[in-house]
């Protein structure tokens, strides 16, 4: 049961991108998702997949249902219809924290950092899924608990180096400017060492230089850690440059899916973005 709009590369075997990266099998497959709030249908019968190692963009006008889509993937909203397949198996309705434990990390459109904590502590929260020492060991701060803390701290410090935020390590998050907060949020998501990283408008409200920095980080993350990335973005230039495949949404429906070149020339997509005369 495929959507009417053709999936240009809906093969489950993988492909090679223009810049020569090998894209693997389907990691996440959304099948006929429908999400309603009361009487409002936020997402209408949408299907698309995300393949291992690719950068997948979701674009569309405001209110198209993009963020709701990410919320379905992270388990925050449970769709009324449709299935989420993860690594070849249908995923039962999971709580958001269980989804996170499966290796799906994300950032938020309106930054959702923990304002009362330092940058370091915020990034350390990304590692919570990997810290399993019992209360007693933690209470006494004895060997295993301390070792675990130091081990995870090392992993976090690598992320901090990678994203070039060493200088603000101990600064309370509430004192940071917007652009840096976005970067700290990315650091927190990366600290979880996710298989699939969801980025909800990572470049919203940034100036050109900050956008360039962020694009570089996203490409580096994909390149160095092999992380699969799904991102929502409004800046078309950025989307077309970064992503391997693009899903286009409008009013809760999928109106296009394919490589940036295909989507860019799709008449339906152009109509949705530029408007069309009805006569």
């Amino acid at each position: 049961m495929m959507n009417a709009v053709a999936d240009t590369q809906a093969s489950s075997v993988g492909y090679t991108t223009a810049d020569g990266r090998d894209i693997g099998e389907v990691i996440l497959d959304l099948r006929n998702i429908t999400l309603r709030f009361g009487g409002v249908e936020a997402i209408k019968d949408i299907s698309f997949d995300i393949q291992e190692g690719e950068i997948r963009a979701i674009i569309g006008p405001n209110g198209a249902g993009k963020s709701s889509m990410l919320n379905v993937i992270s388990g925050f909203y449970v769709p009324q219809e449709g299935e989420v397949w993860f690594r070849g198996k249908p995923r039962p309705p999971l709580k958001p924290y269980q989804v996170a434990q499966q290796g799906i990390a994300r950032t938020f459109q309106n930054i959702a950092l923990f304002e009362g904590m330092s940058v370091l502590d915020n990034v350390m929260t990304g590692r919570l899924g990997k810290m399993r020492r019992g209360i007693l060991a933690q209470a006494l701060w004895v060997g295993p608990a301390r070792k675990e803390e130091v081990h995870n701290r090392e992993a976090v410090e690598r992320i901090i180096d990678f994203l070039e935020i060493q200088a603000i390590r101990k600064t309370p998050v509430s004192r940071l400017p917007y652009g840096l907060k976005k970067r700290v949020e990315l650091a927190r998501a990366l600290a979880a060492e996710p298989n699939l990283l969801l980025l909800d408008e990572p470049m919203a409200g940034m100036n050109v230089e900050e956008k360039e920095d962020m694009s570089r980080f996203i490409l580096d993350v994909n390149d160095e850690f092999g992380t699969t990335i799904a991102l929502i973005e409004h800046d078309m230039g950025v989307v077309m440059d970064l992503s391997d495949r693009v899903v286009v949404m409008d009013y809760g429906r999928k109106i296009g899916d394919g490589t940036p070149d295909v989507v860019r020339n799709d008449q339906v997509v152009i109509d949705a973005y530029l408007g069309v005369s009805h006569d």
Partner: protein, 358 residues
């Protein structure tokens, strides 16, 4: 140079993560501990013990408990008085049921009993948030007080309806009952207090503490990045209950000696401990001590000035105290919502850079 990081290099992440990163702070801390354990017991008298030091230590433990729940995990509780009562009555039942077991174990046991009760009353926090939860904890407060009043089993069916602590000794030294000496009372409370602070500090700087703070700062985001709200909230309720229970047990057995539930553990206690952590600083272990000290010492000082020096009527001074405490709470919330702990931090920050202003 005094009070500088210069020359105090951190060569490992665990050194970087210690409680007192500055050498001078560490020295002051160990000196304070040494004085508290070795010098004070020698010079302490009944007045200092019963008016200031013992209540200060006990309230500090209760404040640590509430601060874990409210300051670190963001769940406001107005049931502290009721949970202290659980600790007190659990301790009383344990003391009278197992007279041969050490009182120290009874106090810890009371902590565990309270832990269970507090966790049960924490269950609604999974569905109820914010104010609604604060009011729901009032159900715990009023229900528990009523329960200890109405069910004679809790006070061993005695006619007065009160509970009173029989004499129990450790190494031949009485810790409860009328023959307890000031230094013994002080030392046992000090030991529990220091141990509580040590444990709470370790928990709050580790992964459990981060879970709590994540829930406090933004519960939805916390859940999406992988914090299980059920275990995070309930563990906060459990540990909070443990400390509050210990403080209740000490308050009854070591400090008061006899207690009537409505009088000793009423809603006033809940508010008193809440005020301590607001004035001291939400989410700070140091703040627990600062807040407890402030609200224990303030009435003593006011009474000293008002009654002893000016010769005013005690009830007049009591009214003034209400005005001053209420006023201070509003003042602190306006000027420094992070409490005395934040003032202290800012002061240390300034001192570190002195004589340069920035």
């Amino acid at each position: 140079m005094l009070y500088r990081e210069a020359g105090d290099f951190k060569t490992s992440y665990s050194l970087d993560n210690q409680t007192f990163p500055l050498k001078l702070d560490r020295i002051v801390f160990y000196l304070t501990l040494a004085v508290a354990f070795l010098v004070v017991p020698l010079v302490i008298n009944d007045y200092w013990a019963s008016a200031i030091l013992v209540p200060f230590l006990i309230y500090a433990i209760a404040a640590i408990g509430l601060n874990i729940l409210t300051g670190y995990c963001g769940q406001v509780s107005l049931g502290t008085g009721g949970f202290m009562a659980v600790g007190a009555y659990a301790c009383y039942k344990l003391m009278t049921a197992f007279p041969d077991v050490s009182i120290l174990l009874h106090i810890v046991g009371a902590g565990f009993v309270t832990m269970v009760v507090c966790t049960v009353f924490g269950l609604p926090s999974l569905r109820i948030k914010g104010f609604y939860l604060a009011v729901a904890t009032l159900a715990a407060q009023f229900f528990l007080v009523w329960l200890f009043n109405k069910v004679p089993w809790f006070y061993n069916n005695n006619a007065s309806g009160q509970i009173s602590a029989p004499e129990r000794t450790v190494f031949g030294v009485p810790l409860t009952g009328p023959n307890t000496e000031a230094w013994a009372m002080y030392l046992v409370c000090l030991t529990f207090c220091v141990a509580s602070a040590f444990i709470a500090r370790n928990l709050t700087r580790g992964s459990l503490g981060r879970r709590w703070m994540a829930i406090r700062d933004m519960d939805i985001a916390a859940e999406i990045i992988g914090v299980n709200p059920l275990t995070a909230k309930l563990s906060a309720f459990a540990l909070s209950g443990f400390f509050v229970g210990i403080s209740g047990a000490l308050f009854f057995s070591v400090y008061l000696g006899a207690a009537e539930v409505g009088e000793s553990f009423g809603i006033d206690k809940s508010f008193l401990v809440l005020f301590m952590i607001i004035i001291g600083g939400l989410g700070s272990i140091f703040g627990c001590f600062a807040g407890a000290a402030f609200l224990v010492v303030l009435p003593v000082v006011l009474k000293f000035i008002g009654v002893d020096i000016l010769g005013w009527a005690p009830d007049l001074v009591a009214h003034l105290r209400l005005v001053i405490v209420g006023g201070l709470i509003m003042f602190f919330l306006i000027k420094e919502p992070h409490g005395l702990a934040q003032l202290w931090r800012v002061m240390k920050e300034k001192l570190r850079l002195w004589p340069f202003p920035h």
